[in-house]
């Protein structure tokens, strides 16, 4: 009898397993493929490895502008892919070691939930006082004619391309689409993004989304408000904003319109788990409708971010150990690792207005930072927008794009979690010279 059985070894499942094992819980972790889940194997980590190589390539090409002479710069996709694989395998090994150290039992196989406390793996039934479902999500492929062709890929297959295409059409301008668009375009691939909505990345500040697109002008073509109707061979057909039928020819097509929770084939329905299209329903403590069954991560549909999954696992663990905790959604930072990077935390101006706040905002360009200018040049793209509630002076959100954004944004999460007011944050000292300083400077614009 295990204390906790966790189904799925992504950043929700394996982190929870490690923390639970550390607390002396007897944990069984079940994974059907590789430790680390989508994040490590087909998501966060491989994409960051590829994007880092692309950044090196771009920096090398831009080096002369900063006084460094280089020879001919080239991009060796084979080597890049090999490094990506090495990173993945190193981290997988790290997780395996971590599980061993935390005395977590790891089983490979497909799990089936047999009601509260029972899980079947490879024909064997395991019993646990608590079951945690962390089965994640998968790319959603809409039923567009021609979407089943080999050169139409999801984020999973495109990570294994063996040669660079001449041209790429990205269907869906969300986080995944933007990252791949950034990667391929910086290597000279002609990239078109076709997005059904009027703007890219729905949770990004609208004004910044526009500035971000401007920064990619000449590298990526954005076709917004367009609906793809069919993929006829290599022609991606769509109806544009004005209702006109158009077509773009591309070697490769990336389908990145969203992800859906992994719910099928694991006995959820038979166990009477409360599930809808967006995922398994949970409360703020990650409890499902079944006693002692929890769900965390993408499968809940609450937030499709690795760090959200990790946090949900911590909340579930605290809850089953009797420590009060809750999963709060208001201060979850997010980042897009494109060139330039995008990051945000809390409410955007529009979201805050919609929520009924008396909103005030202030914006500064990242060029206000000496370091940013030195490293990115006079045209370096980037800005910070701070959103506050004018009635209480409380910080509601910070949204930014530009170099280092992803590494800065966690501080905003701390400020929002502590419900600090602008006047409180002004008392915090930021190091100089850094890009993060611009956040502090922006506060003085109010």
């Amino acid at each position: 009898m295990y204390d906790i059985i966790i189904i799925g070894a992504g950043p929700g499942g394996y982190e929870m397993a490690e923390r639970a094992g550390h607390k002396g819980q007897n944990v069984l972790l079940i994974e059907k493929a590789h430790l680390g889940g989508v994040c490590l194997n087909w998501g966060c980590i491989p994409t960051k490895t590829l994007l880092n190589s692309a950044k090196h390539y771009v920096h090398a090409k831009e080096a002369p502008a900063f006084g460094v002479t280089t020879g001919e710069v080239s991009f060796d996709l084979k080597k890049v892919m090999a490094w990506k694989q090495e990173v993945i395998e190193t981290l997988r090994g790290g997780i395996a070691g971590m599980m061993k150290k935390s005395k977590v039992t790891v089983l490979t196989g497909e799990a089936k939930l047999l009601g509260s406390g029972k899980v079947e793996v490879n024909g064997e039934i395991h019993e646990g006082k608590n079951v945690v479902i962390a089965t994640g999500g998968s790319p959603f492929v809409p039923p567009i004619p021609g979407a089943d062709q080999d050169h139409v890929m999801t984020s999973k297959e495109i990570l294994s391309v063996e040669e660079l295409p001449q041209s790429l059409v990205v269907i869906g301008g969300g986080v995944i689409g933007i990252e791949f668009a950034s990667f391929f375009s910086s290597l000279g691939v002609k990239v078109d993004i076709i997005e059904m909505l009027e703007e890219i990345i729905p949770f990004m500040d609208r004004g910044q989304a526009k500035s971000f697109r401007a920064a990619l002008k000449g590298k990526v073509d954005f076709n917004l408000g367009c609906k793809v109707t069919a993929i006829d061979g290599h022609d991606v057909k769509y109806i544009d904003k004005k209702g006109e039928e158009k077509s773009i020819n591309a070697d490769l097509v990336l389908m990145s319109v969203g992800r859906s929770p992994n719910l099928a084939g694991m006995g959820f329905e038979e166990a009477r788990l409360d599930v809808d299209r967006s995922g398994i329903k949970t409360d703020d403590q990650m409890r499902t409708n079944l006693p002692n069954v929890y769900a965390i991560g993408d499968v809940t549909g609450k937030s499709q971010l690795a760090h959200s999954a990790t946090r949900m696992g911590e909340v579930a663990l605290n809850t089953l150990l009797g420590k009060p905790d809750r999963f709060r959604m208001n201060a979850i930072p997010w980042a897009v690792y494109s060139m330039p990077e995008i990051a945000g935390c809390g409410l955007t101006t529009d979201q805050a207005k919609e929520a009924g706040f008396n909103v005030e905002t202030a914006t500064l360009p990242l060029l206000m930072s000496g370091r940013f200018l030195a490293e990115n040049g006079k045209k370096g793209p980037g800005q910070v927008t701070v959103v506050k509630d004018a009635d209480t002076d409380v910080l509601l959100g910070v949204h930014m794009f530009g170099a280092y954004s992803s590494e800065i944004i966690w501080g905003v999460a701390a400020m929002i979690e502590a419900e600090l007011r602008i006047e409180d944050i002004k008392e915090i000292v930021f190091p100089h010279p850094t890009v993060g300083e611009v956040i502090r400077s922006t506060l003085f614009q109010f």
């Binding site: 409890r287 409708n289 009060p324 709060r328 209480t392 502590a418 419900e419 007011r421 409180d424």
Partner: protein
Amino acid sequence: MATEVLMPRQGQSVESCIIIGWNVKEGDTVTEGQPLCEVETDKATFEVEATAAGTVLGIFYPADADVDVLKVIAAIGEPGEDVSSLRPADEAPEPQNIEQGISNDEVKEEVVVEKTSAVQDSKFDIRDSGPTGKASPRAKRLAEKKGVDISQVVGSGPEGRVIERDVSAAQAVPLSPAAQVKAAAGGAVPSIGTGIGGRVLAGDIGAEITALEFPGAVTEIPVKGIRKLIAGRMLDSLQNAAQVTLNSSADARSIMNYRKQCKAAPEEVGVGGINLNDSVLYMVAQTLGEFPDLNAHWKGNKIVQFNEVHLGFAVDTPRGLMVPVIRHANRLSLQQISMEAKRLGLACIDGTVDPDALSGGTFTVTNMGAMGIESFTPVLNTPEVGILGVCAIQPKPVMSGDDVEFIPHMGLSITFDHCAVDGAPAARFLARLREKFAAFEFELTLAR
């Protein structure tokens, strides 16, 4: 001649008060009426004033001491006077650390804390090392206002009781800066918020948070009116009486037969409305006269037995349980009881009942038989010492020669207050009721 300062009596029910803190020390000069110390009962805090002008010659109990009312707590007189004759026998050891006078509230808290530690070894300070869960109402109120989780506060009162002062000193969960501003403007601070580590955020001020712990929609019903009254009385009853329940059952053939006859009787006889419950009420009223032990009130220091039977009976109304009382039930015929029970029951259901009809009972009957209940533990309608629960009629196997006969029996559950009555008299009462129910029709014939 030195003047004594007594722990005043605050109301009839208060037997002792806790000294929260002294405002003066020995040797201080005081004027008549000057507050000497603050004391706390479980209902309020108040100040004890100097009974005369002069010098404080003796302070006999330190802060935290729980002192019986009317005991001498201090003496005031001329410097040098001997006050040893005024010293109470159980006086605290010489209070070494009673700090100097206090001029304002801010200083008070600090001083009080010092005193607490200083008197730790005193025999009056039975402080526990951890929270005991006991707290004075004032402490509870302050804790609610301040957002302090009172179950985590270590009490400095007797037996670890948390008193107001402990709550003042306790650290509440942190409030975010914005929450502090909102709390200052008014609004209850919850003991745990929705932020990091239970931090109270602005949105938590004045909000009901507990509901978030439970999945699905909730309905919150404020406890007031009859519900509040019932809650108070039931809790009071179960906390303050030694309740014991005895279960038995009575042969119900006669009472059922009688009911059948009443139903079948011509309308002009006027007995058609007599139901089983009326028959039970009647027989209980008739029988209680023989058992004065059970037709009584428990008053703690005395037992009041009644000659007359004023019989309460439980009525289920849309607004909750009500217990109207049939006055002089022992003097009424079955028909009169039936009519009175109907009148009172309908008035309760309609909400038109005279409030006076809802008190003054000497014994209560509660009938759950119609709902199929086979036995239960009625809760005493204190200060009454007995309540009879009437249960469903069910066939019961009874030996008849070598055979088993199934005879309908009516369940009877009596709860009595073991403070006032012992088990045997209660059992005898039940036995007598059994006899009378079994021979119900004969009993009616024999009735005066």
